[in-house]
Amino acid sequence: MLRLFSRRNVMAAGVVFFALLPFFANPYVLFIGNLALMYILLSVGLNMLLGYAGQLAFAHAALFGVGAYTTGLLKLELGLHYGLALVAGVGLATVTGLAVALPALRLRGLYLALATVAFAQATLWVFTHWNSVTYGGAGFRVPPLDFEPFTSRPDIGVYVLTFVIVLVSVPLGWNMLRSRVGRAWVAIRESEVAAESLGIDITRYKSIAYVVSAMYAGAAGGLFAGMLGIVTPESFDLFQVIVHFCMVIVGGLGSLWGGVLGAVGLVGLQEVLRAFRHLQEIAFGGLILFTVLVIPGGAVSLLKRYVPGWKEPLRRTEHDE
């Protein structure tokens, strides 16, 4: 019976559900679905850096913001095609990710955490204070998107675009994790010295982790700007980092599918509590604390224990291929 809920089945059901959503959902539900898909991208990227490579970096929301601002501003100021603006957003987020990585490579553990917290705040400061470019604290509106001739409804257009990007990029990330790249990341997380002694160039592989996770964050940011239609600094503040962390931690650090489940599961919670900042803080802060204390492997560790067919590479067994 439980076999029905194997990873493969659950994921297939998820894909079908998200594929059919535009046909029956009202615009609000569709928006939530779109948010969920976007958070999947964020969580996959963050999980690579934090969960697999073990780099305690807080810069993720800032890179997410760079993606959103770049995409939104290019659309607004230059009237660039949304697709191109999105690509540029991913590009600039990636470059910023690399710019974070270069100094960050010299740091580890707590020092890395401190430096990236400072970087995240500095980026937020730029969003808020560089009025001539970013429109300051109030943010700006992104001009309506146009998906003609495919659909006359921009929200469906963004949704489908997000869905396609998720459908392509999550398997790509998954493949990467199953290869020597994923093993190198886990090796670095567990012991840098041992990783080096096996011929893993830790500088190179840490940089790769930063860059790849920045690409996911940038794509999510660009899509976020498109689906929300408004870009403001507070979408990228430290609380957003907490939301992202919470999704990955509650789902399962170091488990790609756990992070995906966490993202989908917690979007609803965030939406229900949207009007209540304090309850969001209590819920997400409390969930992080609870998970770390009580189920350190996250929800996916329970699935792995009780439901057949949830094993993953970098935790895989013979019967699971």
């Binding site: 934090l50 073990g54 305690l56 100094p103 010299r106 740091l107 553990g109 707590l110 020092y111 955490a113 401190l114 430096a115 917290v117 400072a118 970087f119 705040q121 500095a122 400061w125 204070h129 010295v193 430290l238 609380f239 907490i242 962390f245 919470c246 931690i249 900042r277 304090h278 309850l279 969001q280 803080e281 209590i282 819920a283 997400f284 802060g285 409390g286 969930l287 992080i288 604390l289 770390v292 204390l293 350190p296």
Partner: protein, 293 residues
């Protein structure tokens, strides 16, 4: 102008130093950075606000209540976050304290936040708010109170840390927890005391600061970043370094805000953290550590 900026830099720097002391105290004895330290500061401030503004107690009584409350919160942090994770890796501990910090922030916002006109509450001046001339510059009496208060707390703390039994046990535990345990020190109690003491100094700082600025549930994080800047500037883990670092951060911030651009006041702490960590991770006074294998 210069003298004024220095004076105000020194008084805010004194607060940063106080917050940094708690951060370093916990870091030295546990090897972890408490990311919820800023929220302990903030919560202490709101306890004093409740006593002083809502219940109408005298300022100094409010201060004492806040210090006791801060201690209790520090102990809570020790019991719920640190103790259960004592063997967990650094990454887990950071995540846990970050989670805890948002939990407290949410609770504070629930009780004291979300009023008309935002989350900020005004904390009335404890002393006469009109500026007085000191040595040719105008200063607010509250600034002098901050400076005096900070000096008082730093001295009391130093005496506590260096001369009392508890302080010596903290030092011994920080040096070598196993040896301390073997020589009969009840290490767990020392940890509890460490978290409590750190939080109570932070609370005191919040009560001193509140009349100068506004109080909000978000203020903790700003102070935490300043305290980070102070500790990395002074060399992570060095107590005198953190105090000097605190003053330096206050002064740098004040000068950058006054002479270059007001916006820089906010951001200079981040720049200090990044620059120091990247170019001189051991801080201004620290020595480089052995690489662990």
């Amino acid at each position: 102008m210069f003298a004024y900026l220095i004076a105000s830099g020194i008084s805010t720097g004194a607060l940063y130093a106080m917050v940094a002391i708690g951060l370093v105290l916990v870091y030295r004895s546990t090897g972890h950075i408490n990311f919820s330290h800023g929220e302990l500061f903030m919560f202490g401030g709101f306890i004093a606000y409740t006593c002083f503004v809502i219940l109408g107690m005298p300022y100094f009584v409010s201060l004492v209540v806040a210090v006791i409350g801060g201690f209790a919160l520090g102990v809570l942090c020790d019991r719920t976050v640190y103790r259960p994770l004592i063997k967990a890796p650094a990454l887990t501990m950071v995540l846990a304290t970050v989670g805890f910090s948002f939990l407290i922030k949410g609770v504070a916002r629930f009780f004291w936040g979300a009023r008309e006109g935002g989350d900020y509450v005004a904390f009335p001046a404890a002393v006469d708010p009109s500026p007085i001339p000191v040595g040719g510059i105008m200063v607010f009496p509250q600034q002098l109170l901050v400076l005096g208060g900070a000096f008082f707390f730093v001295v009391v703390f130093t005496i506590f840390f260096r001369r009392t039994r508890w302080g010596k046990m903290m030092q011994a535990t920080a040096e070598n927890a196993t040896a301390a345990y073997l020589s009969g020190i009840r290490v767990e109690r020392v940890y509890t005391m460490t978290w409590g003491t750190g939080a109570c100094i932070a609370s005191a700082a919040a009560v001193l600061m509140a009349p100068l600025t506004l109080l909000s549930p978000d203020v903790g994080f700003n102070l935490l970043l300043r305290a980070f800047a102070a500790t990395v500037l002074g060399g992570l883990g060095s107590m005198p370094g953190a105090i000097i670092g605190g003053f330096l951060v206050g002064i740098i911030e004040s000068l950058a805000g006054g002479y270059i651009h007001t916006g820089l006041q906010e951001v200079s702490a981040f720049i200090i953290i990044i620059v120091v960590l990247v170019f001189r991770p051991a801080g201004l006074f620290g020595i480089r550590r052995l690489r662990e294998t």
